[in-house]
Amino acid sequence: MADVAIERNAAPRTARKRASLRTALKRKSTAAFLMTLPLILLISLLVIYPAFYSLHLATLNKSMQRFIGLGNFQFLFKRETFWLVVEQSCIFAITAVFFKALIGFIVAHFVHNIPAKGQRKWRGMLLVPWVIPPAMSTLAWLWLFDPSYSAFNYLLAGVGVDRIPWTGETGWARFSVILVNIWFGAPFFMIMYLASLKSVPDQLYEAAAIDGANWWQRIWYVTLPMMRNIIAITTLFSVIVTFANFDIVRILTAGGPLDRTHVFATWAFRIGIEGGDIPLGASVSLFMVPILAIAAVFILRDINKRGNES
């Protein structure tokens, strides 16, 4: 090895070095490009192209023969169901994300509080809802909410509460889909917050304790500022995923009763696949874009900030 290096040094090096550098650079970038080519093809053909194609689809009529401009949107704005879907999507996403974040935060603290030896076991149990495929676990909830055999109603009857129409009445059905979503998503928040809680240095808490901070002040002035970035990123992630949720609503209520629990994704499916009106369905799903775009911009900013800090 050493010999080679010396020989190279001895040779008229500037020219040779530059030439070899250039060929190496050339070879390297070609190789790099070839290695990323499948990724670029996949993303451009199956993600970016369909994304723009749906913009085009949204301007066609039902049989996809004729260009009707913004006709689909005009039609949607006049339908009452559309506004119900907008309302329900917002209620669903905001409530579910808020409670997922809150429960995740509380549970993460409790897990962090107990001796390190037992933490693994508790964390393992509490993450189970996130591991089960949502389509499968929603079936279990559907059975727990069954109108005539609901196991929850059996327990409630034991304490003298009347039978609850979990998925049969607008208010309760909205509550049920949100509850299942919280059940499924809170463990994700818990695991993220727990990871970030562990990275808060103990000295900060010791210093706060010496200054006489109570538990509330410790959370407000030490924990929250230290976790701010993770909380922001996790919440924004969850906003995207919850807003675009399909499985839970589809299986639990299929949008019922009377379209009161439809969110954008399930309504787009109902119109586009079951109703056969692909352009109108595509227009419905396009309404998710603004909120997703805002969330994505903030996530990107936070992730870049994080990258610069470390």
Partner: protein, 304 residues
């Protein structure tokens, strides 16, 4: 501040205060366990109820007994499902799709992540950000244009991909590749530069650096990415619901939802058994590889 501490240390009240602090601590611990138990019950009730129902006969399910207890446990639901050709077809389709998708994902994302993490080239930074953004695009936005595209593709070339399980091999990578590439970029970037410089000096090619240095060193990340790709493709519900309809082409989640729910109330024993068997592979992987699973989960936001 220091003076307070010193006075505190010298004061005779110190032991008393210590005891009260430790008592606080004990109570905090008790409350923690109490609430953790509450949350664990909340988390585990649906899966446990799946197990309870799966052990019951239809007669017991329809009887007006306590639904939370099994009076006559039976494995007949399991036997029935595991000997039913239809269910085994669903299982086979799911397994094939997941295994192929994991392979395809790794073949695409590992070289791409290596190139993006180590070989700076024109547009590589933009591409890395773009990969991350793609991960944020939900499938519910793309299923209609994709469906239309595959119909048009079939009309154009005569190759009918709709309603064949292998169409999912083309579509699922859009869900798995961006995230796997993103976390592999993070893992690869954390490998010290000296390591691959040493390999290059020893005469290794780029390919050898990847297979001999990067893949072995970043193995935990690779396992985490593999688990992610597997669980995503096993759990995916929307795409198979849209793209496959014949019963012999369905994957497990869609198969259970569309064929077992027949409006017959008393099929719930079988539905719960099917759901449990469908949840089993991810749960088993999770039970054995929990640390990798969690590493993959948290990597998305903590790396990069």
């Amino acid at each position: 501040m220091t003076s307070t501490v010193v006075i505190d240390k010298a004061a005779p009240t110190r032991p008393v205060k210590l005891r009260s602090m430790s008592r606080d601590r004990t109570w905090a611990l008790r409350w923690s366990y109490f609430f953790l138990t509450l949350f664990a019950v909340f988390a585990l009730v649906p899966p446990l109820y799946m197990v309870i129902t799966s052990l019951k006969t239809s007669a017991e399910i329809s009887a007006a007994t306590n639904p939370w207890w099994v009076y006559h446990p039976t494995l007949s639901n399991y036997v029935e499902l595991l000997t039913s050709n239809q269910f085994l077809t669903f299982f086979r389709n799911s397994a094939l799709v997941s295994i192929f998708v994991v392979t395809i994902t790794m073949l695409i994302s590992v070289p791409a992540a290596f190139a993006l993490a180590r070989m700076r080239f024109w547009g590589s930074a933009t591409l890395a950000t773009g990969v991350f953004l793609t991960y944020l695009i939900p499938e519910t936005l793309l299923f209609l244009p994709l469906f239309k595209m595959f119909v048009a593709f079939g009309d154009l070339t005569g190759i009918q991909l709709i309603n064949k399980w292998y169409v999912l091999l083309v579509i699922y990578p859009t869900l798995t590749v961006p995230f796997c590439t993103w976390i592999m970029i993070g893992y690869f970037a954390s490998i010290p530069k000296e390591l691959d410089e040493a390999a290059i000096i020893d005469g290794a090619s780029w390919f050898q650096t990847l297979t001999r240095i990067f893949i072995p060193v970043a193995l935990p990340g690779l396992i985490a990415a593999t688990i992610f790709a597997f669980t995503v493709s096993w759990a995916q519900f929307l795409y198979p619901l849209v793209f496959t309809t014949s019963t012999d082409q369905l994957v497990l989640p869609v198969g259970i939802v569309t064929t077992l729910i027949k409006g017959d109330v008393f099929a719930w024993g079988q539905i719960m058994t099917g759901a449990l068997l469908g949840a089993a592979p991810p749960l088993i992987i999770y039970a054995f590889l929990m640390d990798y699973y969690i590493a993959g989960l948290t990597a998305g936001a903590t790396k990069g």
